[in-house]
Amino acid sequence: MILRFNTFAAPSRFYGLAGGLLPWFWASALLFGLAGLYVGFAMAPTDFQQGEAYRIIFIHVPAAWMSMLIYMVMAFWAAWGWMLNARMASMYARALAPTGALFTFIALWTGALWGKPTWGTWWVWDARLTSEFILLLMYLGYIALTEAIDDPRRAANAGALLALVGAVNIPIIYFSVRWWNTLHQGSTISMTAAPKMVSTMLTAMLLMTLSFWAYSFAVVFTRARAIVLEQEGETEWVRALTHSREQA
């Protein structure tokens, strides 16, 4: 089978292909996740400063990355769908939003669990925490707006406008650690400098990131398939599909 860029642009072909890819995404999410957790919790050494509490980093940091990345991807597809009137792109954007909100919530929640033993507090109104909290509100606003509008095209376009306006927030979160020197620790991993952590820790974190990527693909494709069925309910191939399901 040849995969082209536009293979995923037609709802009917997307539906079949994504269905075939789903087991692979689930399997790799599980595999990478188990490997990452094993390396992170059994092999990685104890931190000299924070003791065992630092181990939440293996969930916290990948989740925080995903929360920002998914927003950018969502804003990109939403804008793409708005400009080129591409239905599938808008459906991707809508399918991404709940997963992004989930990762933002996980990042905030694990951050609170990490903050209690290391900072002695669940929450501070520090620049990074506040901007991540606002990111969660932006996700919720996007979901609420797209759910409140019944017409799918108007919902997609209105959501795209909101997502683009909110995208201003992402660089602020990303650079907040560097711009404001507050309680949140600086970034541990940098593209330009040598890693400041033991290689097992880095391995565990990257494995968890891969796992989260695979999980996101699996969940987003599942949700996008559901949205496709919902919005393409009138078309011939969906009728044929549901009909064959009923027969079986």
């Binding site: 606002i134 409140a148 376009n157 406008l161 306006v165």
Partner: protein
């Protein structure tokens, strides 16, 4: 082009004057909501002085969001908004005219009433002046961002409450620098940096928000 702006502004102000009580409701909300805080928190003067600027700003935010949903609603209801969309003039000027009318009829009263809040919260004269100045710079930003939210939620069942969720996260920078200016005065510093940043935010939203609101109107009435 600018003729449209003034025409829309004058028309909306005239409509607001005909429904005087309705137009002054945000002001009433502002004063009542701010007045609840000393009752809820306790009349300790030092605490009140500390929370005064924040309370005034948050109540101004909420008051602006309460009234902003009405910006396009009645025109949408009687169909005149679609006529305006069909006109050859640029939609951005229409939005700007409506925003200006909204700010003059509901933002400026908040600025004028803010010294009253300052006195109720035991603030010093200079802090009160800074509060009023920061609101003078900040309330147009609220009207502009509110216009985007109002245009996006036009004609939706839960539009009014949705605007709060959509617009309030975007107003956080204005809130931070607005209260920061008063905080700087209380700490004996110059509020100029905060006020300059607020001015920058105002210019930025003045450039971006009318475009976004016009695009949102086109989406809503597609």
């Amino acid at each position: 082009m600018r003729g449209l702006l003034w025409a829309v502004t004058k028309r909306d102000l005239l409509l607001a004057r005909r429904r005087r009580v309705e137009a002054l409701l945000p002001l009433g909300f502002f004063v009542v909501a701010a007045g609840l805080f000393p009752i809820a928190i306790g009349p300790e003067p030092n605490t009140l002085k500390l929370i005064g600027p924040g309370v005034a700003w948050v109540c101004a935010l909420l008051a602006a969001m309460l009234s902003v949903t009405q910006m396009f609603a009645s025109d949408h209801h009687d169909g005149s908004l679609e006529q305006m969309l069909l006109a050859a003039e640029r939609l951005e000027w229409l939005v700007l005219g409506k925003v200006l009318a909204h700010w003059l009829s509901s933002g400026v009263p908040l600025v004028l009433a803010s010294p009253l809040i300052g006195v109720l919260f035991d603030m010093q004269a200079q802090a009160i002046a800074t509060l009023a100045l920061s609101l003078l710079l900040g309330t147009p930003v609220l009207s502009l961002l509110g216009a985007v939210g109002a245009a996006l939620t036009l004609g939706l069942r839960s539009g009014a409450s949705l605007v709060f969720l959509l617009v309030l996260p975007l107003t956080v920078p204005t809130l931070i620098f607005g209260t920061g200016a008063v905080g700087a005065v209380d700490a004996g510093l110059s509020p100029q940096a905060h006020l300059s940043l607020q001015g920058a935010l105002l210019l930025l939203t003045l450039l971006g928000a009318p475009l976004a609101a016009a695009a949102a109107l086109r989406i809503s009435l597609d």
